[in-house]
Subunit: 329 residues, 2 copies
């Protein structure tokens, strides 16, 4: 650890906005800024804007010398190559490989390191959150999609190419599984993401006559928020959609444990607001499917980081690694 | 690496026999001995016999000073604790936790380290076999059961308790899956081990009228060897049983890749003799189920170590680690 520098920059690149934060070693976010992610198709334009915003943020508080580097969480961010590889939801990336780490180094003079958003979330949880002191855990982000960051022996698992931990796309249903955006069928994400839960409700409203408050809505535009609100009012169909997500998560988690024998699975993301409706089912099905010597031993926890801060904190946690792991400087 | 010592002891504890080998740094087995594993119910008696055999083997060739330590591969061998935890197929263990590493240290004066047999096989493959130079791979042993050793970042993955890598007991069939010895249903092992393949044949011979050379045998006692011989003669039902095993392996392997992004899966064990009959199906189903960016990139290879040597070599490879990782000395 470099004791000379006091701050790190954490950057969270999302589909619509990119959040930037100046973070100290204790995980305090001293200042933040936001730029839009989707108003240019030119990767150089985006990188220049990002570099400008980073420098301006630093100079409002300190000097570049006091900053260890830039940690970036981004969809399809590759830790090994320092590139963003064809993230389809970023218009300036769209199918191309963008060497963002190299460009930011050239534009700011600071070292940088990138990983995908779920890995950054795992780093943040390990540095500042509920996974402090844990060496073997999996972070599962339940949002529009399902992402994951796997930590083994205290380090994020990147695998041979930087893409380890695509647990949202583990196939959990081989018989008439739901088609997935990845081109295959039966992926965990199709049952357990916000969209997956909406899909369960739409399927049931269409294919059955089961009563539900949700029949008052336009079936095509029902959101996971609508479903959550119906569940809060006691709507059985809405509650069953969350329970199905819990069941699929529990079954999948038991298999993950057989793989890496982890201490805990930590859940994060918008869907966790509905935890009362999926957690009992998740635990029941995980326990039922665990090998006997793991029964009762694996914790399923929820992130304790504020959702608005977690992505920046996670990315900044990556920046503290730079002196050890930097690939490009 | 300790350059003072020339040899390591590799011990492979199996259900019937325990093989001991004196191995040099290049993976040459200089001498071997065998003791029985199952003729005593007293763990102290077994340990004393094993220690005596180890010392005798060493003293025939060199002195104890020239031996770095003892590496042991054993069912339910726990790397962290140095114990064998309730291996049901070892009568002197039967449900108990046996501190074999500590006892051997007391009896021989040599440091020792233990892991399960599949992890030892992975170590051997990495030190002396086809996985030389690989940092991310999975070793899958296809024998009576299915075992696995997972290597990430050049090290065996042990997880939080030493039991990571129970991939034979990943549940691959959730609808009417075959019951498994572990108490659950649908485990990979129930379709892809030698016993799993025998089970496919028995199910089909009983439930269908499909023609097969195997109908000449007593259905209850058909072995995987019988099935292999029938397949060699072109028997469709026999070939289909291997193809089903290949299909289940291929589907499961695609999920393993999504977990740890590995360079290769390496197969080992008696069932690999029938590779001509399961490999095409395995590759077809793995490729079909891989996320698009991994298609065409993951190798499935076969061990190049002689089966009779591999377990000893793998265990001995563990012994070279002792100076770095020893937990008990």
């Amino acid at each position: 650890m470099n004791t000379q520098t006091t701050y790190a920059i954490g950057v969270d690149i999302g589909g619509q906005t990119t959040k930037i934060g100046l973070v100290d070693r204790h995980g305090n976010i001293l200042s933040t800024d936001i730029i839009t992610s989707n108003d240019t198709t030119d990767p150089h334009t985006f990188s220049q804007r990002l570099a400008n915003a980073i420098i301006a943020l630093i100079e409002r508080h300190t000097t570049l010398d006091n900053v260890t580097g830039i940690g970036i969480g981004a969809p399809m961010g590759n830790y090994y190559t320092g590139c963003i590889d064809g993230a389809i939801n970023l218009p300036w990336c769209n199918g191309q490989t963008i060497p963002l780490v190299r460009w930011l180094k050239e534009l700011t003079g600071l070292s940088a390191i990138v990983t995908n958003d779920a890995n950054a979330a795992a780093m943040g949880e390990m540095a500042y959150g509920i996974a402090k002191g844990m060496n073997n855990f999996i972070m599962v982000t339940l949002g529009t999609g399902v992402g994951s960051g796997i930590v083994v022996n205290g380090k994020v698992l990147y695998g041979c190419d930087g893409y380890a931990g695509e647990l949202g796309h583990v196939i959990v249903e081989r018989h008439n599984g739901r088609s997935c955006g990845c081109g295959r069928s039966g992926c965990l994400e199709t049952y357990t993401s916000a969209r997956g839960i909406e899909r369960s409700v739409r399927e049931w409203l269409t294919a059955t006559n089961l009563p539900s408050l949700l029949r008052q809505k336009d079936i095509a535009t029902i959101t996971s928020k609508d479903i959550y609100e119906a569940a809060v009012k006691g709507d059985k169909l809405a509650k069953d959609a969350f329970a199905l997500a819990g069941e699929k998560l529990g079954e999948a988690f038991a298999n993950f444990v057989a793989f890496s024998s982890l201490e805990a699975i930590i859940l994060f993301g918008g869907v966790t607001k509905a935890k009362d409706f999926f957690y009992p089912s998740l635990m029941e099905h995980m326990e039922k499917n665990l090998i006997s010597f793991w029964k009762g031993k694996v914790k399923v926890l929820f992130s304790i980081l504020k959702e608005s801060d977690a992505a920046i904190l996670g990315a900044s946690a990556l920046a503290w690694e730079i002196k050890h792991y930097i690939r490009i400087d």
